[in-house]
Symmetry: none
Subunit: 115 residues, 4 copies
DNA sequence: GTGGTCTAGACCACT
DNA sequence: GTGGTCTAGACCACA
């Protein structure tokens, strides 16, 4: 689940994981999420690291929390995450991908063969 | 040109730049490359950092250093870079791209529209 | 009414609310206050939390508890609350406010315009 | 300088301090700021805590950093901070202050006497 | 030297 | 039980 030799920081991998749970409709809006400590145990990570993932998502309004109770998926989180990730994908990932692709002498039909 | 707040290390951004020059046939095999100093000034970067980019490429045989003269694009560099970058692209970039794409509800035909 | 993502503790938000009711003469001295349960339901809060608000006010003599009957606004509560809040206001809130005000380039006459 | 018994978290006190340095024109835009470790020593705080203050400000674009070099006051930081703090002041602090003031039976002319 | 991430573990306030 | 803050200290990559 967790990739410790990835160059991407662990806390970011965790917040990506959370976003994916939301995108995949596994965690519904308004629903309570696993506690920081549960996530930490589940992912074999320090609670601080898990906490940091939640913090990040809280800052952008995807997650809310109630003191002493836990973290919840914010209302509108699905759309927010989808919009954000799509924007990022189209504006950053796609152009970069296309550029590499062309430079390496491939086209989109080749990609179909690899996938 | 240089992105100082990217997560990608600067020396890697430079060596990517160099590889791209080679792939785009802008720097021919056997040709002399700009000096470390020139690169450093051009990219507003510490000479040590520019040096490290050359070093990395030298280690994998893409660049050759003739003492007292300068750095040169190695013979066979074009093929070497192309092969390496293609492998990386197909094994890492493509699968990752496809995964993101699917999660966000797109398919390869959509991508054609964005590109 | 209740702000769950505020830094101010919920029990304090509740006891502030109660004090304000007293200051605004909405709850008279000697009068019976809503039960802990009612408050808890009204504010969508755990009864323990509502209880803690009452407890706090009971400790400083603003609220009295008659066992089996309920909570009452203590005699002299109005003056007590007013004095306490005024002291707090003048010693803490005012200096802080003035400091921020000056740093942001405003003066008290500007404030009149905003109010 | 640092208030450990304040209810406000230390890392926030530090980022407030930094904002104030900028507002007071003590740290100019584009200038290099003390390193995380220097701040930590200066404020007698753990480097992690100092780091967190910078992170917060980086997230809102007031601070920039160059890897391996240090943190810098971002271009436009002065205006950004001033605007942000003013907005906060006018929309949150002032109404709250006025409300408390009125409830406690004071008016703005009284405040002049206290200040 | 710089920032950045992570762990381990403590302590606190809140519900 | 929950989240939140903080410390101490380690390790890493980068310039």
């Amino acid at each position: 689940m967790m990739n410790f030799s990835d160059n991407k920081p662990i806390y970011q991998q965790i917040s990506d994981f959370i976003c994916n749970q939301i995108l995949d409709k596994k965690w519904a809006e308004g629903g309570r999420m696993p506690s920081v400590r549960e996530i930490a145990v589940l992912m074999e990570v320090n609670p601080n690291t898990a906490m940091r993932a939640f913090q990040t998502l809280q800052d952008i309004g995807v997650v809310e929390n109630r003191r002493g109770i836990g973290h919840f998926v914010a209302e509108g989180a699905y759309d927010a995450v989808l919009t954000m990730k799509r924007k990022e994908f189209i504006e950053t990932d796609v152009p970069q991908f296309i550029k590499s692709m062309k430079r390496l002498g491939y086209n989109l039909d080749d990609i179909k063969g690899f996938a």
